[in-house]
Symmetry: C2
Subunit: 436 residues, 2 copies
């Protein structure tokens, strides 16, 4: 019998190591991003899996088609005029795969000069643009940074079901499906399951898809997104959750600084400083914005998007912070599991985090006592028996706990200054888009 | 304005640090797992977020109800008779939350003495059993180990959509849903998207839910599971994928050895050694099993579960390996994107990995050339235009590539010797189960 060893193929040089290989001959793989023909030679910009790389080629150029996937051998030479400080002089180049058609949209310029719908219709192609690619490298490093921080704090990663029986969280915005003849729904959040798992691991998190059947078609809505959800037992107060998030963001941005310098530079974005974040109660925030901008308050329960933007502006002006926690949302507008503020049951131990004028997080302390939770559900006229599985966690005991959920795409979009949330999703789903 | 700092609450001692704190007074949180009343004192077994901990209490015991969530202060004392080598002498204990009802099933014994349906019906409770908890700590560390390995190999984590238009992979076993009046489906795998992303990052992975509407109701089938999917560009042959998986499993088991000693001991499982893995072509494997066990071959395209089990047994006997790659599955039984073997188009450059007699991985090299892929689809009578979004990646060029998918629950179950796949899922979904 043949045996497969654990020897990973290392014929090709790790493109991330090139800066240490000046003077060496290397073998590299990638796609030809751009060719500039000069007299007697060509500049070939190779897109490797980590970066754009300037190569110089004086071989025949008929195979050097933009979009061809190649393997090349060449010498790494110091070259101060190249962005990376070096270039590769090609000695041999082999095209392994050629595109079948010319791209209908130019992807190898600095900026994609295309409408949003073109960007999304041709996603498999447009994502190859260096700057578009950078968005998703940042997103991947965001996740890595979040995991590292949470792992370090003793959180355990869980995988909760996305197909759920019963109408999760009681909302209207759910996608229904037929599950072997029974009605089922796509989970709007892992809320019930992460709370349940506090009873098992005390501290849990999940980074996974969530589904919202909201009919809004705006720059800030998508119908499937990636939720970064955590839940934590033994909190003394919901302020600890905000402190945890503050520390997490600080740690994650440190990680990005180290891992995504190039990508952040492409987007010309500065990482925000987050050693502390201001917090303001919802009602105060509403009144402040109304007063400062002479806007009448029309919705006493929630922010309008414009109010969020203005609040962000005000807080930045007053404190220098690009983040602001808004706390104590009204009980009437928070889900049934939210803990009310002791001494003021009109408001809750809850918060949102706004970043550069947009909500990126919702969190709060939850009701952990079974009787208190059931009583509240009855008061709200909810059918308690429909939540039997969820309430089992409370019935057999849960510690005081709370948690939060971050929209990964919103965080990415705010961080890079993307004007539409869809740009921070590889293959976005909105009310009108189901492909590619 | 108030300011939230990044100071995480550290009133409580990290339970993982106790072995270094003998002689110190610590504050700990957890749930009372078991109380054994002795004469004049009580043994209190506290379940902290990392372990069971023996405590000694000579305070009044009326609050020490099993299932109560407590915060306690006490001194760490060396105690050779305790499993951990130490115990905590309780000086103060406060119950923060009490269960509302006695559990209907005993969860604080060594083994859950309960039927599978009880285990699953009372999941929020039964997961609190130490040994059940251990399954999911191992699963979480499996994911951590996989990510670490892949991150180290330059793979980028992606998030692909789970709601898809068109019938992904052309299979019948899909869940349909109504998407704002349009028909949509739940993704059976991230196959198309991970291949597409090879055109962007060359090496990508995703650990995310996948959905299969298979009507099988067996110990090895579930309808929602966690897929560990990776895809890699610039492979020379599909053997490189097997080498990568061999290296990955070795690395992941090293990680488990370091992180899950306690949990593996609870399940009395030895980690397999994987410095190399035998590989055998499908047809040879079929014939070998038929010959050795005198079994007639009834299905020439696939293994029966019993054949998988027997093949595992044979390979173990002949080579000592608990893993075996089966290669070159028949073209007729592999998806349309699978590359055929040069010189023998009846079989494919594909493989499965069996672990302790069960398939845990499917992988292979894919067709990367647009014209070759379209021609094959036409030969198979497929409606090529329905795959336009997917084929865009090929059309504008993809390098030679391949990948694999691992069922996280299958890997977990095989590793711990679980007799039913459902036991490796927090909240399983099968043809009859949609709750809790």
């Amino acid at each position: 019998m043949k045996r497969i060893t654990n020897q990973i193929n290392t014929n090709d040089t790790d493109p991330a190591s090139l800066s240490r290989r000046v003077g060496e001959v290397v073998t590299l793989c990638g796609v030809i991003y751009k060719v500039r023909l000069m007299s007697g030679f060509a500049f070939v910009i190779l897109k490797t899996r980590t970066q754009l790389l300037q190569c110089v080629c004086d071989l025949p150029t008929e195979n050097l088609r933009e979009g061809a996937w190649v393997r090349l051998t060449g010498k790494v030479l110091a070259e101060p005029r190249s962005k990376t400080g070096y270039e590769v002089r090609i000695e041999r180049i082999e095209a392994l795969s050629q595109p079948a058609e010319e791209p209908p949209v130019v992807v190898n310029n600095k900026e994609m000069n295309a409408s949003l719908s073109t960007l999304l219709d041709y996603r498999p192609l447009t994502l190859r643009n260096e700057k578009e690619t950078a968005i998703f490298r940042v997103q991947s490093e965001l996740c890595k940074g979040i995991r590292r921080f949470l792992d370090g704090q003793g959180f355990v990663e869980i995988h909760s079901p996305k197909i759920v029986g019963g109408n999760a969280e009681g909302g209207a915005n759910v996608f229904g499906l037929d599950y072997f003849g029974k009605p089922a729904f796509l989970a709007q959040s892992p809320q019930f399951y992460k709370q349940t798992m506090v009873g098992v691991f005390e501290r849990v998190y999940e980074i996974a898809p969530v589904f919202r059947a909201e009919k809004h078609h705006t720059a800030r809505h998508i119908n499937e997104y990636t939720g970064v959800d955590l839940e934590m037992g033994f909190i003394h107060s919901f302020e600890e959750l905000m402190a945890l998030e503050t520390a997490m963001l600080g740690s994650v941005f440190e990680h990005l600084k180290a891992s995504c310098e190039k990508e952040l530079a492409l987007w010309k974005m500065e990482l925000p400083v987050v050693d502390s974040i201001p917090a303001i109660p919802f009602e105060e925030a509403k009144e402040w914005v109304a007063r400062e901008y002479g806007r009448p308050i029309t919705d006493v329960y929630d922010f309008e998007p414009e109010e969020e933007r203005l609040l962000g502006e005000l807080v930045k002006r007053e404190t220098g912070s690009e983040f602001v926690f808004v706390t104590h949302y009204k009980t009437a507008k928070r889900p049934f599991y939210t803990m009310e503020t002791p001494g003021n049951p009109e408001v809750t131990e809850s918060f949102d985090l706004l970043f550069r004028g947009m909500e990126i997080t919702t969190g709060g302390q939850r009701i952990h006592d079974y009787h208190a939770q059931v009583a509240k559900m009855e008061r709200l006229g909810m059918e308690v028996t429909a939540f039997e599985g969820y309430l089992m966690a409370h019935k057999y005991g849960l510690p005081p706990h709370g948690g939060l959920g971050i929209g990964l795409e919103r965080l990415t979009a705010r961080l890079l200054g993307l004007d539409n949330l869809r740009r921070a999703v590889l293959f976005p789903r909105d009310t009108e888009r189901l492909t590619p």
